[in-house]
């Protein structure tokens, strides 16, 4: 399986990459870790005339904390997320999620920015980003804009990112100490996309839910924020019964496509189950 012919460019700076993008226009695709794009090119589902490889741009790498915000360079790999002491200490949900992505070899190459900007509803970072209230930095020749994860995912392989933009950074507000969290993912085997998955962050104070975020993977054309389920839990004590009710509300918004992982009814049921499991685990992990 060999891709169609293309020209290859390896710019050393975001500035140079933006220049190439402006010059080559629609013919060009950005190459991040290459573990979604290259398989698509080998199967000739994607046939770009030019590849702009972001792999040599040092400024797109790294994880740091600044004024209560975690800033992750878009070309940071999944294994770098997993091994990050900063994330293990302050944002363990991202570590838990990254550990469930594909397999070790893929995680050495696959990047957080590629996973998000690809717009595949089967990817895991989009739901994690919704649960963490993240935002994305998009740069073009005209300047930079910061867009929230909530609203970024428009449709399957479709996001708010414009063809002349590069995602440079992911910004995550440091979760408050004691925030409970969980990414519950059902998959058939290592390397598979989720049959269904749920990302949860949860804060409990004085015995009641102070805040909660629930986001779902691969049960619709985009990742889904389960707003009604969140609203049903806020301000009240979290009980087994309220978790079941919230999972039911999350299931109401599911619109999965049937495939070899199951039919729509099964996937919807699994989205409910993952929501319940993620809420239970987040409750155990949450400070009071």
């Amino acid at each position: 399986m060999i891709p169609r012919e293309f020209e290859y460019h390896a710019p050393k700076s975001v500035q140079d990459a933006l220049g190439l993008l402006a010059q080559l226009g629609d013919e060009a695709k950005l190459l991040a870790g290459g573990h979604s794009l290259l398989p698509m090119m080998k199967m000739r589902f994607a046939q770009p005339g030019h590849l702009i490889d972001l792999g040599r741009i040092a400024e797109l790498k790294g994880i740091r904390e600044e004024n209560g915000t975690i800033r992750v360079g878009a070309m940071t790999t999944e294994n770098e997320l997993i091994w990050s002491k900063l994330l293990q200490d302050k944002c363990p949900l991202l570590v838990e999620g990254a550990r469930l992505i594909s397999d070790p070899q893929v995680r050495y190459k696959g990047t957080i920015g590629g996973d998000i900007s690809h717009g595949d509803p089967g990817n895991d970072h989009p739901a994690l980003m919704l649960a963490l209230g993240a935002s994305f930095v998009l740069r073009s020749a005209a300047g930079e804009r910061v867009v929230p994860a909530d609203g970024f995912f428009v449709g399957t392989y479709d996001t708010l990112m414009k063809p002349d933009e590069i995602m440079t950074e992911i910004r995550i507000p440091v979760p408050a100490p004691g925030t409970g969290y969980c990414y519950a993912k059902l998959k058939r085997k290592v390397g598979d996309f989720a049959t269904a998955a749920a990302a949860v962050t949860l804060r409990i104070r004085g015995g009641a839910v102070q805040d909660v975020a629930i986001a779902l993977t691969n049960v619709g054309p985009t990742p889904l924020k389960a707003r009604a389920a969140e609203d049903s839990l806020r301000g009240k004590p979290l009980s087994d019964a309220s978790i079941v009710a919230a999972a039911g509300l999350a299931m109401n918004i599911c619109d999965p496509a049937a495939d070899q992982r199951g039919d729509a009814e099964y996937k919807t049921a699994m989205a409910g189950e993952m929501t319940q499991r993620a809420l239970h685990t987040a409750r155990e992990r949450a400070g009071r």
Binding site: M1, I2, P3, R4, E5, F6, E7, Y8, A10, G34, H35, L38, P39, M41, K42, L51, D53, G55, N79, S102, D103, P104, Q105, V106, Y108, K109, V190, G191
Partner: protein
């Protein structure tokens, strides 16, 4: 035809230069241009891990890397494990612990295990199974592969002591 590019990298310690089309996959460069046929083509779809090579300290599936991405890199394939006629501890251990049957997955298994033991010299069985999950074997049921990696970890630790 797309513009061919000269690519230079180190393969098992030796400098190599190739001229390739940008669309050429690393596995094809290794096997067809450089006659390094240890890395195997199993699935060609990033699943099986038979084509695993060590690239700048990362285990990668060479069916999903472009050769042009490897400029200035350092690469290790199974051909680079034996030193001065002596097998590497991982090769010995796969032999001694019966970590293979047909042997098709073995170059990828050993190359992956090499990086795992660099990162975690004393992995538990659970850690081995988690961090070796990108390599498929259809013969062994994995039991002896896990044992072989544990055995190699002990040998390497003893040699370092």
């Amino acid at each position: 035809m797309a513009t061919k590019q000269a690519v230079s990298f180190k393969l098992n310690g030796k400098a190599v230069d190739v001229v390739v089309e940008p669309r050429e996959l690393l596995i094809h460069t290794l096997r067809e241009r450089l006659q390094h046929t240890g890395p195997h083509i199993g699935c060609e779809t990033t699943h099986c891990g038979a084509c695993t090579v060590d690239l700048d300290g990362m285990s990668v599936k060479s069916c999903t890397v472009l050769t042009v991405q490897c400029q200035d890199s350092e690469m290790l394939t199974i051909e680079g494990f034996e030193q001065g006629g002596a097998l590497h501890a991982l090769q010995e251990s796969f032999h001694e612990q019966h970590g293979l049957q047909c042997g098709f997955c073995t170059p990828g298994m050993i190359t992956r295990a090499y990086r795992l033991l660099k990162e975690n010299p004393n992995p538990s069985e659970e850690e081995i199974r988690y961090w070796m999950a990108g390599n498929l074997c259809r013969c062994t049921g994995y039991q002896n592969i896990v044992k072989a990696v544990q055995h190699a970890a002990k040998k390497l630790a003893a040699a370092a002591a």
